[in-house]
């Protein structure tokens, strides 16, 4: 029976190719959607993840950076800097805003850096230099590419005109391209004299971040203090949560579609081989064996389709960023496993209709002309 199943599947190569490609595409759609969301979520934390201070200090009630607004009095930074176990405190100003170039308007995260503050600045420049003078900016290289911007070009942030002096790598995502500007310019824009947004606190060697967090909480009122891991986790989980419903819905719809394609393929295979199946029944093979064969066929077709989707996801999908540089894709083994399990369910569900059809088949039909 196993041999017959195998032969049956590969007897109609055209149908098989169409089916597995259709199934592969539906899974690619799910994997792509998941990879985009995961990639964007990872990029959302790209800036804080690269800064990697031991402790983050922010306004009380604020626990993350993405889409947040935080103000901390400047004297609190001085107070924290004097606490035992603190190596250095790096303040930044931070604003979500729209950046306007000649070609388009883009939502961006703008980080204001104090003079000579390399600690919180771009970690890798692909062109140009760091900001040194007022009204200069470093923008993500991908943003420059998609907006056709070059060094010395101008961009608007509110009513201020900034000159691009550098381009940074790894700072772009559709949700939050990170731009760097001088602290004083952003301070003007925010009208926020005497405040910082976030404080990046580096601990002395041998001081555990958790201990430092508690020390700052004890000494400084009305601030929220988090370890780097907690801070990153808050941002990442929020970004993932924002898209989780849509990913689930897309997975369900695409799985239904895949199940239908599997169902159609299995049904076509069964219909084409109905006389053979009737003969097999007439020869006394039990129905359960035939049903197992039909389900096995569906599993084979789905597995090949899913295999193609995984191959595409691993080896082709990463190159889509060449066509669309603004996309950040991230594949996760756990989500591929998850989709693989769904594929198995899809195969079984897809086989139900043809299996039902086979179970109703009369052995006598083998003798019909």
């Amino acid at each position: 029976m196993l041999k017959w199943t195998w032969k049956s599947v590969f007897s109609q190569r055209g149908t098989l190719i169409g089916s597995v490609l259709g199934i592969a595409c539906t899974f690619i759609l799910v994997i792509f959607f998941d990879a985009v969301w995961r990639g964007e979520s990872e990029q959302v934390v790209s800036y804080p993840a690269h800064m990697k201070p031991d402790v983050w200090v922010m306004q009380s009630g604020v626990g993350n950076m993405h889409m947040a607004m935080s103000f901390v009095w400047d004297w609190k930074a001085d107070k924290i800097a004097k606490l035992p176990g603190v190596k250095q405190v790096t303040p930044i100003l931070y604003l979500n805003s729209i950046v306007t170039s000649e070609q388009n308007q883009i939502f961006a995260f703008i980080v204001g850096l104090l003079p000579d503050n390399k600690r919180a600045g771009p970690w890798k420049l692909s062109a140009g230099r760091h900001i040194e003078n007022p009204l200069e900016t470093v923008i993500p290289d991908v943003l420059a590419k998609i907006s056709n911007l070059n060094i010395a070009d101008k961009i608007h942030i509110a009513d201020k005109l900034f000159t691009i002096v550098g381009m940074s790598s790894g700072t772009y995502s559709s949700a939050n391209p990170v731009l760097f500007v001088p602290f004083s310019d952003l301070e003007d824009l925010l009208a926020s004299t005497g405040t910082y947004s976030y404080l990046l606190v580096d601990a002395d060697e041998g001081t555990r971040p958790e201990v430092l967090v508690q020390r700052i909480r004890d000494e400084v009122d009305k601030v929220n203090v988090l370890t780097h891991e907690e801070f990153i986790n808050n941002d990442y989980s929020m970004a993932i949560q924002m898209g989780v419903e849509i990913i689930v819905i897309m997975t369900i719809i695409c799985s239904v579609l895949a199940a239908l394609i599997v169902g159609f393929t299995s049904y076509s295979l069964v219909i084409r081989r109905r006389r053979e199946l009737a003969i097999i029944k007439a020869l006394g093979v039990r129905s359960i064996n035939i049903l197992t064969s039909v389900i096995l066929q569906a599993i084979i077709v789905t597995s090949i389709g899913f295999g193609i989707a995984v191959f595409f996801a691993l080896f082709i999908l990463p190159y889509t960023t060449l066509l669309q540089p603004q996309l950040t894709l991230s594949l996760s083994l756990s989500s591929l496993t998850h989709i693989g399990m769904i594929a198995f369910i899809v195969a079984v569900l897809g086989a139900l209709l043809p299996a039902w059809h086979v179970s109703r088949m009369e052995a006598a039909s083998a003798y019909h002309v």
């Binding site: 109609q12 979500n96 009513d159 849509i246 209709l353």
Partner: protein
């Protein structure tokens, strides 16, 4: 040809049903992806339009309402109201917050209003009556299981949910408070050295006299008040939509393209399987003298008939899923029937049916008429 194709379709009702549902699901997937994208743009545009202003005053250099910080000096309000044709400049402040409950965080855009600019409609509860009242979006209420009268904490400050509205954009729910609430929030939270750190006045919603000309008054305000820009709401809304397109278009464009490829493959698969199953019939037709072009036309007709059956199935499926999504997750709006996009999708579906029908052409070409005279 259409009659032959129709008879062929009716020959196996179960197969036809399976085919129509499969093809309909492909159409539904594409419609839903398009609808999701259009819904995002619609929400972005509606947020400004729902404020019902004749003109919107922003900080100089700011030309968006969503995802931007606009801060106008408070004295500018009196200056704007002194311009001829302006009856009132209603203040509005926008504050992005992160709502956190049980360690689940959601970015929320809080609109602070006084006389104009409040929630467009209240679907449950009441509008704001006291300083600590807040009106929240339905999606926020559903996500956190919040009811009228429940507490709603913003940076340790306690609001009370007075009403539920339905306004969201850029995948963010909106909430509404009044200026008493905002001042109390800032003062009681003691989160900044002085109130001026926060944008106390982000926008002004200008109410014009009936005789006033919008463009002229906008020009007069910009000449009279240097610290502001003035925009007609439609233009401001369009800017937000354009900003959304920069964000969504590349992602959604690729997803829809994959959807179309699936469509082509599904039609191709169906037609190929069908032609393989009817090889003998095609051989008979060829033996009877039917030309290849006529046989191809029959296949094409069958593909188009299948599409005609599948389109209503797809629309119904998409509609059902859209209603489900909007009921379960009211943050998302699915706009299936945006005329241009809807017709464009149907037109492209028509295109992929034709391409799908071309896939099994070689099989017809290679069908030997002698097959008609062979035993089964």
């Amino acid at each position: 040809m259409f009659f032959l194709a129709w008879r062929q379709i009716l020959l196996e009702p179960l197969r036809m049903a399976l085919t129509a549902i499969a093809l309909g699901t492909v159409i539904a997937v594409i419609l839903l992806l398009d609808g999701f994208e259009q819904g995002q743009y619609h929400q972005l545009g509606e947020i400004v339009q729902n404020r019902k202003a004749d003109l919107v005053v922003t900080q100089s250099g700011i030309s968006n309402f969503i995802a931007v910080r606009s801060s106008i000096p408070q004295l500018a309000r009196a200056e704007v109201e002194s311009v001829a044709g302006v009856i009132n400049a209603h203040p509005v402040t926008a504050i992005p917050i992160i709502y956190n409950k049980n360690n689940t965080r959601t970015p929320v855009y809080v609109i602070v209003y006084d006389t104009w600019g409040g929630p467009l409609s209240i679907i449950q509860g009441d509008n704001i009556k006291r300083g600590r009242d807040i009106v929240i979006d339905l999606s926020l209420a559903k996500k956190y299981n919040l009811q009228i009268g429940d507490n709603f904490y913003v940076t340790d400050f306690e609001f009370r949910i007075a009403g539920i509205t339905q306004e969201a954009a850029f995948m963010m729910p909106f909430a509404f408070i009044n200026y008493d609430g905002m001042i109390d929030l800032f003062i009681e939270s003691q989160i900044a050295p002085d109130l001026s750190t926060f944008p106390l006045l982000s926008y002004m919603l200008v109410e014009l006299a009936p005789y006033a000309n919008r463009e002229n008054v906008a020009r007069d305000i910009e000449q009279h008040v240097a610290s502001v820009d003035v925009m007609i709401p439609e233009k401001l809304a369009q800017n937000d939509v354009n900003m959304g397109k920069v964000f969504f278009k590349p992602i959604m464009g690729l997803l829809v393209t994959i959807g179309y490829i699936i469509g082509i493959l599904v039609v191709g698969l169906i037609m190929y399987a069908d032609i393989r199953a009817r090889k003998r019939s095609f051989a008979v037709l060829k033996a009877l003298g039917f030309s290849f072009s006529r046989l191809f036309c029959a296949v094409l007709a069958q593909a188009l008939l299948l599409l005609l059956i599948a389109v209503p199935v797809g629309i119904m499926l998409a509609l059902g899923v859209a209603v489900f999504i909007q009921t379960m997750y009211p943050l998302y709006l699915i706009r299936l029937f945006e005329p241009v996009v809807f017709l464009q999708t149907l037109f492209i579906c028509f295109g992929f049916s034709i391409i799908g029908a071309i896939i099994p052409v070689r099989s017809i070409q290679r069908t030997d008429p002698m097959l008609a005279f062979q035993d089964a």
